[in-house]
């Protein structure tokens, strides 16, 4: 998967706490449970874990760790209904600012049904989405 053939959600927030502290909240299982979900998280590359929600489990695998700066893992969700299935990668980036940390979460992925439908037309699909998003933005 490259960054040119996926859909992306980005959420950014400046948080008045230092990166070291945020890093702990992002990487210690008992802290992750408090803001995200129950889990068997581990910080080793390739470590597989699950995030367990009331609505189901998210399958994860650690892809990238740069302590205090970047954390990336897969975020795959299996569901009987293809409309809810999701294969994606979540990346957290921490950047120190004067007042604390700029926390950025980027989730990039395809739903499997989208992948099936667009396997052959990825480039066009990307351009197409950009155009559509411009159109949709004008509707609001």
């Amino acid at each position: 998967m490259t960054d040119t053939d996926v859909r992306t959600v980005t959420v950014e927030r400046e948080i008045p706490h230092p990166p070291e502290k945020l890093w702990r909240a992002l990487t210690q299982p008992h802290l992750i449970e408090e803001w995200l979900m129950k889990n068997d998280f581990g910080l080793d590359l390739g470590h597989r874990f699950q995030l367990r929600g009331d609505w189901g489990n998210v399958d994860c695998e650690i892809l990238d760790v740069d302590p205090g700066r970047t954390l990336s893992y897969t975020w795959n969700y299996a569901h009987d209904d293809p409309a809810y299935q999701l294969e994606s990668v979540v990346t957290f980036t921490l950047e120190p600012t004067g007042a604390g940390t700029l926390l950025r979460m980027e989730q990039a992925g395809f739903r499997p049904d989208q992948k099936q439908a667009f396997g052959g037309a990825k480039g066009g699909w990307r351009i197409h989405l950009e155009n559509l998003e411009k159109v949709v933005a004008k509707l609001d």
Binding site: F118, A121, V135
Partner: protein, 108 residues
Amino acid sequence: MTQYSPDLLFRALADPTRRTLFERLCLDGEQTVGALTAGAGISQPAVSKHLGVLKQAGLVLDRHEGRQTHYSAQQRALAPLVDWTGRMNRFWEARFDDLEDLLKRMDQ
């Protein structure tokens, strides 16, 4: 509003000719098959066939006036595409709220 299958929607938009037709209707408003054919570089029956697929997916609406059929874009049909981003955005915003609460408690 009728619920169209996301499958039909994705399939309809997977074809570049159909995307172009749909985008032209989005940008230029309602048009006849004839007007759409003029800029498409394919035959009128081929354009009609593509418009039929778009219609099945809920992406266009046809309106008959005399011998002419006018087509218009139904941008609301794009909702399943927009929804995923919207849903995940709301999810992460709420998680970030909880994260900030946690960070405050970690000071104590």
